[in-house]
């Protein structure tokens, strides 16, 4: 069985005539340590899948398993524990705490995780050793995204979920962020899921999931993932 498995997962918002099926019988599997790119146009259900996978939302139907744990059977406190111990999140708009410095934002993750890594070490690793004392407003978009990744990594998660991590960045900083994510996947053997609507990014992944209208239309392994510098924006 795959490390991550979605089995007939649906998510319906609203009821009756106004019901929207954001995910409609999604079924797929991802192996441990893979870098998986979920590709699709806007409204395809990518974010819904990511939210369900990260325990931020509850599925209407179907079963989701991660590392043998059935996420869909968990209640709220268990989901919190799951997010706390197993999942790292990276958002398109970073979601840093504006009144905490870069270092403190990363420390925020250490507050809740028992197996957290050293925040200073991680920030150094993402190339921000000189910006640790700065507040988010004093950092560029790329730097903020790197703090956000550092915060996710600090928890030493088994699963790193990234929602359009380069969506708000220019190509140069976008490359740096992707470089970092691929390196994380290779060095720490962390399972990384990146969702994007940018088809060029797809070639970076060990696996590419294509989605359309709330369903997975293709689940393909990429035998030879490209390097970041090889992809064209």
């Amino acid at each position: 069985m795959s490390y991550i498995s979605f089995d007939g997962v649906s998510k319906v918002y609203g009821t009756g005539e106004s019901a929207v099926r954001a995910a409609d019988g999604v079924t797929f599997g991802i192996e441990e340590g893979e870098l998986c790119v979920v590709l699709g146009p806007s409204g395809a259900g990518k974010t819904t899948v990511l939210n369900l996978l990260g325990g931020m939302d509850k599925a209407t139907a179907g079963v989701i398993r991660v590392g043998g744990k059935e996420i869909t059977a968990m209640r709220s406190p268990q989901l919190t524990e799951y997010r706390r111990m197993d999942v790292g999140f990276v958002f398109q708009f970073y979601n840093l705490m504006p009144n905490l410095t870069a270092l403190e934002n990363v420390e925020l993750a250490r507050q809740v995780s028992s197996r957290a890594l050293d925040p200073v070490e991680i920030l150094r690793d993402v190339g921000l050793e000189k910006r640790m004392g700065n507040f988010p407003a004093q950092l560029s978009g790329g730097e903020q995204q790197r703090v956000s990744i550092a915060r996710a990594l600090c928890k030493n998660p088994a699963l790193l979920l990234c929602d359009e991590p380069t969506g708000a960045l220019d190509s140069k900083t976008g490359e740096q962020v992707l470089e970092l994510l691929t390196r994380v996947s290779r060095t720490y053997r962390t399972t990384v899921v990146i969702i994007t609507h940018n088809a060029n990014i797809a070639s970076l992944g060990d696996r590419v999931l294509r989605m359309r209208n709330g369903a997975v239309v293709e689940n393909a392994l990429n035998p030879k993932p490209a390097r970041v510098e090889e992809i064209a924006w």
Partner: protein, 774 residues
């Protein structure tokens, strides 16, 4: 034209929907504006209601302008009075306290026997009929007294005075405008004291000892008083200002009028502040919509008008609501409380005063101006800039971080909270002011109760050192005779009478208390120490000194009732006693005046034996026993009737704290939902997030409540200064226990509000809250 009309209606629709969506915030504005005008219109309405009710009563019954008391007035005296310039009418009568043997010991009536028909101080008949001018068998009786004694129209009433006795048939039950307050001692007690009206013809042999004088409209009262005093130099002239019942009624009105300018201003200021924060926030949230309207080509004027409606309608609704609700709640409540002591025949509701309308308009104006200011600030930028969301306010280092050694020692959460507080200074400040005001009001309410209790207690438990007071009538023996036969640790005597005190051209009816020079059972010195009475002059009580301005060294004249020659003294001391307008005179000095022997009107007993008390109680001349502890409790019943005022203060304090803290908490929560959602995604448990919020709130609570302590003590002093009583001196007395208790209540309440707000953490939808800003 059609286009313009449609555009307008769309904006109005937008306005209503905006209000609907931010219902809580708009409700807060409505409520706070209501609070501001409610307190004002309530207190303003109260004093106006008492004033118009009492003044109408005074006018209807033609209350006298002067009460001229003499031993015996001749026909000539009365004619001269009538001919004094400015005098419109004179009513002759006999007034004295009489006993009612059928109604038991200790019951007496103030009897007014009118010569001819009553034309001044006309009794208001409530039941039965008015006394006919030539009726020699009938009387009219105080309604309250009759009710307390179970007497009704047609019953008979026996009066005795100087061994003469009359029996009357009660023709009617009445109220009298000169007896709004009918108190023999401190407190009105209709079971033992009241008043009755008869015809003087029915009591042959009694002189005319009082002339009631009514002035012509517009007459010069001061000149008339001087003329009357010159005409009858021995008379004790009371004016409406010095007539106890009338004076107390009017000072009640003055007290509420003064209060109208203490609490409402406070409520108004707080309301204005919160309205300001709420409106500013709402306008700021409309930023991109403002940009959109601008981009669509709406004129500045139209947009401004649209946003001013945000303030205008809710504040108008709130202010009017407060105005009307205030008029029908507070005045009625306070009037009912007041009239448990003061008897007025009818409650008259005054029309809405100009100042009430003014305050309402001011509240609306203030809200609109605040809104205009917030709008100007928000709309300064160009349309394009407005369309972009405002970047979140950047975090920054706080001053505390410079103190590195201390900062490092703080926990991670504490650091985060300190930065948050520093980032939202304005809002934190408002929440703090809310808690400050709450604690201040609670301390004040408790402090007022404590102060009155302490001041009254200081007299009956400190100044008074005897265990029992036995009142004696005019057949009492000498003090020495009692000292010889009453078995007690100490027996002292006091001789008390009402006298006219004249000083610097003014006169005032006061109590004269004559005591043995070496007495020890009234501790009149500072800190309740025993002091000998001055050998060379008189001493005055603190209250008398306060109201008359008399100080040591001033010359005073004392006119004994019916005497035609004044006693002249210098004031030698002011005694710090809390109760009574009293002149103290030593027995030796009294006897040196040769105005009669020292005949005690009451005995002070320290540690009397049970047998001694029993023997005294069987003696004919002992009319009553008074126990200081009972007196204390009786006086404290004044407080019972004011409980409603204090309950109101507590309610106002907690209401204020609730509206402010809940509102601020909500704004805070809404603004930080994204932060909390991020924490949730990071795997923070709900209780951890709630813990963070509570930590922050607790810090603000402790600071706010703490800062309210000093203003609370101050407010207690201010209110005590305003709520002056004619008879008592009240010192602000706020104990640490009170402060702790009040602060505890404030903090508990804050925690309750915090619980309401932090409950919302459960409802944060991570997906919704973190949706990308697209």
């Amino acid at each position: 034209m059609v286009k313009a009309a449609r555009r307008k209606s769309v904006l109005i629709r937008k306005l209503w929907r905006d209000m609907n969506r931010s219902a809580m915030q708009f409700a807060a504005i409505v409520l706070l504006c209501a609070l501001g005008t409610w307190v004002f219109s309530g207190l303003d309405g109260t004093w106006r209601m008492i004033e118009v009710s009492s003044e109408t009563y005074f006018a209807q019954t033609r209350l006298a302008d002067f009460w001229v008391n003499v031993t015996s007035a001749t026909k000539n005296d009365l004619d001269s009075l009538e001919n004094t310039p400015g005098v419109a009418a004179v009513q002759a009568r006999f007034s004295a306290e009489m006993d009612t043997p059928d109604l038991g010991d200790g019951v007496s009536l103030m009897v007014h026997a009118y010569q001819g028909a009553a034309r001044i101080n006309v009794p208001l008949v409530r039941q039965g009929e008015a006394l006919a001018e030539y009726d020699r068998r009938g009387c009219m009786l105080d309604e309250q007294f009759a009710a307390a004694q179970g007497l009704s129209v047609g019953d008979s009433l026996t009066l005795t005075y100087n061994r003469a006795e009359w029996t009357f048939v009660i023709r009617g039950l009445i109220l009298s405008s000169e007896q709004v307050i009918t108190a023999k001692d401190v407190m009105p007690d209709p079971a033992t004291y009241g008043y009755a009206v008869t015809n003087l013809d029915a009591m042959p042999g009694l002189p005319v000892n009082e002339a009631l004088v009514a002035l012509a409209p517009g007459a010069d009262a001061a000149a008339a008083e001087t003329a009357i005093q010159a005409l009858l130099p021995r008379a004790l002239v009371l004016t409406q200002r010095t007539h106890p019942s009338t004076q107390r009624t009017r000072s009640e009105v003055a007290m509420f009028r003064n209060l109208t300018y203490v609490f409402p201003i406070l409520a108004f200021a707080v309301a204005a502040m919160i309205v300001s924060t709420t409106l500013t926030r709402m306008i700021e949230n409309q930023r991109t919509q403002m940009g959109t309207l601008k981009a669509l080509g709406y004129s500045r004027r139209k947009i401004r008008l649209h946003y001013l409606c945000y303030a205008f309608f809710p504040s108008l609704a709130g202010a009017l609501m407060g105005l009307f609700v205030g008029r029908y709640t507070l005045p009625d409540l306070l009037y009912r409380m007041e009239t448990s002591h003061y008897i007025l025949p009818a409650k008259i509701r005054p029309p809405i005063s100009l100042s009430e309308w003014g305050m309402t308009a001011l509240m609306v104006l203030l809200s609109v101006v605040i809104c205009l200011y917030a709008y100007r600030k928000a709309a300064r930028e160009e349309a394009a800039a407005l369309l972009r969301p405002k970047p979140p306010r950047a975090g920054s280092r706080v001053l505390l971080e410079r103190w590195t050694s201390f900062w490092r020692r703080l926990g991670f959460n504490t650091k985060m909270i300190v930065r948050n507080i520093a980032r939202n200074k304005g809002r934190t400040m408002v929440a703090m002011v809310g808690l400050l005001s709450c604690n201040m009001l609670i301390i004040c309410a408790m402090g007022l109760q404590d102060s009155v209790a302490a001041s009254v207690g200081d007299f009956y438990r400190g100044t008074v050192a005897y265990d029992l007071r036995a009142d004696l009538d005019s057949s009492a023996g000498t003090l020495e005779s009692y000292q010889n036969r009453v078995a007690a640790e100490r027996v002292e005597g006091v001789m008390e009478m009402r006298v006219s005190l004249r000083y610097g051209g003014e006169s005032r009816a006061v109590a004269l208390t004559i005591l043995s020079d070496d007495q020890r059972l009234l501790r009149l010195g500072k800190g309740n120490t025993s002091v000998p009475l001055p050998a060379d002059g008189v001493a005055v009580s603190r209250k008398l000194s306060d109201v008359t301005g008399l100080a040591a060294g001033d010359a005073v004249e004392i006119w004994l009732p019916g005497d035609d020659e004044a006693l002249r003294f210098t004031v030698s001391a002011v005694y710090e006693t809390n109760i009574g307008q009293t002149v103290y005179l030593g027995r030796n000095l009294w006897e040196a005046q040769r105005k009669g022997a020292f005949q005690p009107t009451a005995l002070f007993l320290k540690n009397p034996t049970a047998l001694a008390v029993h023997r005294l109680s069987e003696a004919d001349e002992v009319t009553d026993f008074k126990n200081p502890e009972t007196q204390y409790r009786l006086t404290m019943t004044i407080l019972d009737s004011t409980t409603a005022v204090f309950s109101l203060m507590y309610a106002a304090a907690l209401g204020l704290a609730f509206v402010i803290c809940y509102n601020m908490g909500l704004i805070n929560f809404t603004e930080r939902t994204r932060d909390y959602a991020t924490l949730k995604v990071l795997g923070y448990h709900q209780r951890e997030i709630r813990g963070l919020m509570m930590w922050e709130n607790n810090l603000v609570t402790v600071l706010g409540a703490g800062l309210g302590v000093w203003p609370g003590i101050l407010l207690t002093q201010v209110v005590l200064g305003v709520v002056r009583s004619e008879n008592n001196v009240f010192y602000a007395y706020v104990t640490p226990v009170t402060v702790l208790l009040a602060t505890g209540i404030t903090c508990l309440f804050s925690v309750f509000i915090e619980w309401l707000i932090t409950r919302k953490v459960r409802g944060i939808d991570m997906v919704e809250a973190l949706k990308s800003v697209e």
